[in-house]
Structures are given as structure tokens and as C-alpha cells.
């Protein structure tokens, strides 16, 4: 069900989502999603597994285009432009909206080349070395690798690899970063480092994060969207947006009973 955003401040919207559903063939993964997301905030998608959070977030940078029979219905507006308009080029979209994946996926190249790849592809080839340093610094990785830039990225630890992936994403200067469960493959120490990193990054970027870890959402995010699955007529389960509000409200005084049950751990 839809909820009105109970914000008092005048904030800029970065995403406006109206009646969005995503389906694969005849299976609807998630539906009835409407919400507004705001610039320079961390918005978390939470909920039990299988409710289409990852599917939904992949619609925001048109990565769903890569799946043969995926269909996105409804409107996703990015700073006023409908992302699924015919004139819009998915490649350009992904240059402005970056993505960090669940399992770190650095290229099997050197640390430096991992970052310069994105820069070259986006024609940002001036001052390469400076850009590399800036990105690694912003990702809180520079001190650890500054003397080993030519080392193979696969030699880094899992947490370092993920920060490298964040570094190469921010190197191409997007406005928004999508993160699909970025810490689920990492140990608690590495997770904390990335959560701290997010608090710093949000000053320059808008961040959307999918997480199945409620505590992480409450620690890190400003806004939360809670999803759950509902059974459909043909016996399958489709994801739906249940409630969307600022994090404090969601965790202390949620409007929906389902939300309250999830927060208090009665299911999930």
C-alpha cells in the first residue's frame, strides 16, 4: 500500500517511482511500488528474501535490460527524466547511476587498471593518476594500496576488493550509487568499514542500498522502504512495497502491522 512521505523539509527528489512492477515472463517479481527518494540520503530497501528488492534496484540503472524477458512497468523518473523513455540510452544511465554488487567483482587486472577502465570508457582520461588517487581515497582504500597499484586486484582481501569496486564506481563521478547487499559476503570488520564509508560518501552521492540486515539499515540509512511478499492467485509470491518512511519512524513507530512484525523479528 502506498504511504505519504512524512517529511518536513523541502528536499530534492532524486528518484520518483510511480506504480512500478517488474516481471520475468509471466512471473511478477515485485509490484505496486511508488515512492520518492531524496538526494544525498541513504535509502535502504529491507525485507525478507524473495520480495524483489534486488530486482527492483536493478531497474534503477537498467541492468534488468540484460535479462531476456524482464519487463519494467510504471514510471521511474531520475531527476525528472523517465529512465525508460525510448530516447534514453541505458549505457548513459549507467554512467550516472553506479552499482556495487553483492559479491565483489574486481576485474582480473591491476588495482590501477580496475579504476582506469571506467575512466577510459567514460572519456575521462585526463589526469588519470590523480583521478585514481582521488577515487581510492574517497573509498578509504588509498593508504592500504598506494604502493601496490600495479598489484593484481584479486590478491586483495574481500573487504578491500569491495572498497575497490566502490572506488571504481565513484571514479566515474556518478550522482547516485546503487548497492545490492554490498556487505553480505564480508566479515563484520570489513562490513563496518564499508558502513562508515557510506556515511562519508552520502555527502557527495545519493545512495540506495538493498540489505537483508535490519540492524544495518537502522544504523546506516535515512529512509527505509520495507517490502514483503504476498501470495498471488497462482500460488507464487510477488513482492510489494509495504511502507516507506524515514528510518527513525520506521523503526520506532511504523504505520503498518506487517512492518512492525518484521522489525520485531517475528518473521523474516
Amino acid at each position: 500500500m502506498e504511504t505519504e512521505i512524512t517529511t518536513k523539509k523541502e528536499l530534492d527528489h532524486v528518484f520518483t517511482v510511480r506504480d512500478v512492477s517488474v516481471s520475468y515472463g509471466d512471473f511478477t517479481a515485485v509490484k505496486n511500488v511508488s515512492m520518492d527518494m531524496f538526494k544525498n540520503n541513504i535509502t535502504a530497501f529491507i525485507g525478507p528474501s524473495g520480495c524483489g528488492k534486488s530486482t527492483l534496484i536493478r531497474s534503477f540503472n537498467r541492468m534488468n535490460d540484460l535479462i531476456p524477458n524482464a519487463v519494467v512497468n510504471g514510471e521511474i523518473n531520475y531527476q525528472g527524466i523517465n529512465l525508460y523513455d525510448e530516447e534514453v540510452d541505458p549505457v548513459q544511465v549507467r554512467r550516472r547511476i553506479g552499482m556495487v554488487f553483492q559479491k565483489p567483482n574486481p576485474f582480473p587486472k591491476s588495482i590501477r587498471e580496475n579504476i582506469t577502465f571506467g575512466l577510459k570508457v567514460n572519456n575521462m582520461t585526463d589526469n588519470l593518476d590523480e583521478r585514481v588517487e582521488k577515487a581510492l581515497t574517497q573509498a578509504a582504500l588509498w593508504d592500504e594500496v598506494k604502493n601496490d597499484l600495479d598489484k593484481n586486484a584479486l590478491d586483495l582481501s574481500g573487504g578491500q576488493q569491495q572498497r575497490l569496486c566502490i572506488a571504481r564506481t565513484i571514479a566515474v563521478e556518478p550522482d547516485t550509487i546503487l548497492m545490492d547487499e554490498p556487505c553480505s559476503a564480508l566479515d563484520p570488520v570489513a562490513t563496518k568499514k564499508i558502513e562508515d564509508l557510506m556515511q562519508i560518501l552520502v555527502k557527495d552521492f545519493s545512495i540506495l542500498i538493498v540489505t537483508h540486515n535490519m540492524q544495518q539499515a537502522s544504523r546506516v540509512s535515512n529512509y527505509c522502504a520495507f517490502f514483503t511478499t504476498k501470495a498471488t492467485d497462482d500460488g507464487r509470491r510477488t513482492g510489494e512495497l509495504v511502507e516507506y518512511s524515514d528510518t527513525k519512524t520506521m523503526f520506532t513507530n511504523p504505520s503498518e502491522s506487517l512492518t512492525e512484525e518484521y522489525i520485531s523479528g517475528r518473521f523474516g
Partner: protein, 306 residues
């Protein structure tokens, strides 16, 4: 109750059957290994002298070749003691070069298209079906096709170019399949990671996926090449069997190749030719061994552990 004795008997019986079966298995495996060893031993023992030592003709006279490497550089001859594999070696090298230059772009290109760009429709399935069938066509048929298409239709004549192109077509299906496997081995997360950074599909594939797959593709190429080098039948139609006793100087010149030369020598009845053919075989096997070793080195040194 005679439980113990009943079980004991059955156990012995059973163990006997197991042993008998295992012996059969060992035998079967051994046949293959023993054949290989016998072959190698026979070839080396008869041909060794022509390559490395003085050559003795036994009863009649003792002939010494001052420089055994003469075998590698001499021309063919009616005299089994003087016959060398020079022009055939050169012909094989020419063929290798032509095959490499023709096969690698075609094979890699086709594999990249089929694995990364081709839509999953009937046309693609048809292409893949063709490839599977072509891999099973006897090599002599490729020779016939090469005769009609390259020697006559394209006008290249009975030349090393015709031979090289025919061999290319012969090994192309195998090289394409091997290259596809190399591309398949690159995890999809690499493609996704590149795309998420805003690269186009083309950039993601040619700047990330293909470079990672290159070692596997080169290995496939080397293995295909080693097959091409050992082939005799397809080249027979290129006139490679007439008495060619010169080094090829242009792609359009006539030629002979190591397996063809060996085939010639095998056909001569005099006993001394056996040693000469053995020497040629040693060279051929040595060449193949080096190529396979090269493929192994490339695979071990460069292939990634995802």
C-alpha cells in the same frame, strides 16, 4: 550353522571375480600404453641413427655422415642415405604460418560472436549444428573441397596457400569450440561489473572478457595447429606428393610437408628407407610434443583461477 564357511566361500569367490575383472581392466589400459611405447621405441631406434649418429649400413659398407643435421637440411634424394627432410620441414613451417594467420582471427571472431553476441534463435542453432557436423567430417573430404575451391576455383593452384587454407578449414570447428569454452569460463560478474560502470556491451566484451579469455583461446589454437601439422590426406590433392625437391619461396609455390614426405618414404620398398621414414617421424613427433608442451605452459602460466 555353517555361517562362517558359507560367507568365507562366497567371499573368496567374490574376491576372485573382482580380481579377474580388475585384471581385464588393467589389460585394456595397458594395451594402449604399451602400443604407444612400442611405437615410440621402434621409431626412435630405427630413426635415431639418421638424425644423430654416424650411419652404418651394416654388412656392405660403412657410410658416415659428417654432420647428422644434414637430415634436417638436405633435399630429398633417390638415395635413402642422402635423403633429407629440408624442403618438407620448410613446407610445414609455411603451412603453420598460413594456418595461424587464417585461423586465429576467424576462429576467435566466430567464437566471440557465438558466445557473446548471437541471439538465441534458430539461425544460431543452425550455425552451431553446422560446426558440430563439420568437426566429424573426414579430413580427406576437406582435401577434395580444397581441391575444388582453392586449387581450381580460386586459382591458387597446387600451392602451399591452398594447402594452408584447406587445413584452416579443417581445424576451424575445433578452434571455435575451444575458444568458446575459454569465453564461457569468464564469470558473468565481470561482464556485469563492466556494464555497471557505463561501458557498452562492445567495450565490456573486448576490453574485459576477451583479454581474460586469451590464454584459453591461444591454447585451443596451438592444439588445433598441432593437429593440422600431422595431417596428410587433405594435402595430397595439393600436388604435395609429386617429387617436390625445392624450398617453397612464395605462398603460391608448390610444396611438400613432413607427413607427406614421410608417407612417400614409407612407400619405397628398400629396407633403408625404413630408417629414413623413422627419422622423419621422430622429427614430426618432436614438433608435436613441443607444441603440446607450449600449450600446457601457456595454460598453466596464464589461465586464471576464478
Amino acid at each position: 550353522m555353517n555361517n562362517n564357511s558359507v560367507f568365507a566361500e562366497t567371499k573368496k569367490e567374490r574376491e576372485l571375480k573382482e580380481l579377474a575383472f580388475l585384471s581385464i581392466l588393467y589389460f585394456c589400459v595397458t594395451v594402449a600404453i604399451v602400443t604407444l611405447m612400442t611405437l615410440i621405441y621402434d621409431v626412435i631406434s630405427t630413426g635415431y641413427s639418421r638424425l644423430f649418429n654416424d650411419y652404418e649400413l651394416g654388412l656392405i659398407s660403412k657410410v658416415t655422415i659428417d654432420n647428422p643435421k644434414d637430415f634436417l637440411t638436405s633435399l630429398d634424394s633417390r638415395d635413402p642415405l642422402k635423403a633429407g627432410i629440408g624442403p618438407a620441414f620448410a613446407g610445414t613451417v609455411w603451412l603453420m604460418i598460413i594456418v595461424i594467420f587464417a585461423t586465429f582471427p576467424l576462429g576467435a571472431g566466430a567464437a566471440i560472436y557465438l558466445q557473446e553476441f548471437a541471439p538465441k534463435n534458430k539461425l544460431t542453432r543452425f550455425i552451431e549444428l553446422n560446426l558440430t557436423n563439420l568437426a566429424g567430417v573426414p579430413s580427406v573430404i576437406y582435401g577434395l573441397m580444397g581441391l575444388a575451391v582453392f586449387v581450381r576455383l580460386a586459382g591458387f593452384g597446387r600451392s602451399v596457400l591452398s594447402g594452408g587454407l584447406t587445413l584452416t578449414l579443417l581445424i576451424l570447428p575445433v578452434v571455435i569450440v575451444a575458444s568458446r569454452e575459454a569465453l564461457k569460463a569468464v564469470p558473468d560478474t565481470i561482464r556485469q561489473g563492466a556494464l555497471a560502470l557505463g561501458s557498452t556491451k562492445f567495450q565490456a566484451i573486448f576490453r574485459q572478457v576477451v583479454p581474460s579469455a586469451i590464454p584459453g583461446m591461444v591454447t585451443g589454437m596451438v592444439l588445433g595447429l598441432s593437429r593440422a601439422i600431422g595431417e596428410t590426406a587433405p594435402l595430397i590433392f595439393m600436388g604435395a606428393l609429386t617429387y617436390v625437391n625445392y624450398y617453397p619461396d612464395t605462398p603460391l609455390s608448390g610444396f611438400t610437408a613432413i607427413p607427406i614426405q614421410v608417407y612417400n618414404w614409407i612407400g619405397y620398398p628398400q629396407a633403408e628407407w625404413k630408417d629414413t621414414s623413422s627419422a622423419g617421424i621422430i622429427l614430426l613427433l618432436g614438433l608435436l610434443l613441443s607444441m603440446n608442451a607450449l600449450a600446457l605452459i601457456i595454460r598453466n602460466k596464464f589461465e586464471k583461477d576464478w
